[in-house]
Symmetry: C2
Subunit: 168 residues, 2 copies
Amino acid sequence: MVENTVADPTIRFELKFDAEARNEGKYRTDITVIRRSRLGDEHYDMPTDEGQAVGGDGTAPWPLCYFASGLTGCFATHLRMFAKHLDIPLNDFSVSTRCHWEARQSGAAPYQATPIAFMLDIDLNAGTDDAGKIRLIRAASHGCFAEQSMKPGLVKHRLKSGGGWIDV
Amino acid sequence: MVENTVADPTIRFELKFDAEARNEGKYRTDITVIRRSRLGDEHYDMPTDEGQAVGGDGTAPWPLCYFASGLTGCFATHLRMFAKHLDIPLNDFSVSTRCHWEARQSGAAPYQATPIAFMLDIDLNAGTDDAGKIRLIRAASHGCFAEQSMKPGLVKHRLKSGGGWIDV
């Protein structure tokens, strides 16, 4: 999957994740996610359900729980990875994500969903100044596969600085 | 969160999912996802890690596993939900999702991620013809909070029909 030539020093690689979902009649969906890799596939059982308040059985997390974890985890992974690339000493850090959607429905018709915003508040315990931290956040934003799949402008970032927050 | 007036019969509602992530120094990120609701918050532990081949410890699924499950589960939930709205008898069904990304990296600089496509192959065991199934898939597409958060054109759907597939 890795292409590299002497003429072009750019490395290109691909990622493939498949999800096989089966629904038998209620809101629970049994999902197996497969990470495709040259080294062999990896399988994970990641079922979803709705809560009882909306007609589900609450046997598994809501689908959007997975979505929120996936976005946040992918971004956090890239903070950790790119701190090494950028030679920034990074100790522990936290990311607090708020995912916010709305829907509109006329009568009994199916509703239409719209995302409002995904806000990532980032607190980095790192041996660099705010400029270095902002550089790291921007690199993670561009490298994050989940964030780069979102509608442009939807994901926003803030860096904790002293007692306040800086929009990045 | 539900607004409704006599003058405008449109119902509007909001969804909020937060993720609190903590990273202590390796690729593992401990993530608690909180579904915010007027009926009370629900908490789910949904940690992520990278595999050992890329420097992680493999203690939890990859972030993009969560992402793939979230997208697929949200779409499947809306197939189930909107079949009722559209009065389509829907028995069991399957959704097979292929998530595909690429990245490009020059030298030791952080790489840049780009999504290629998310393909959803849908097989509906339903008491309706292909036109009815296509209507259901389009409704689920518009109602799926995860899909509506993606870059336009990225998510594609195919319906199984006889021995082949129909682009929806």
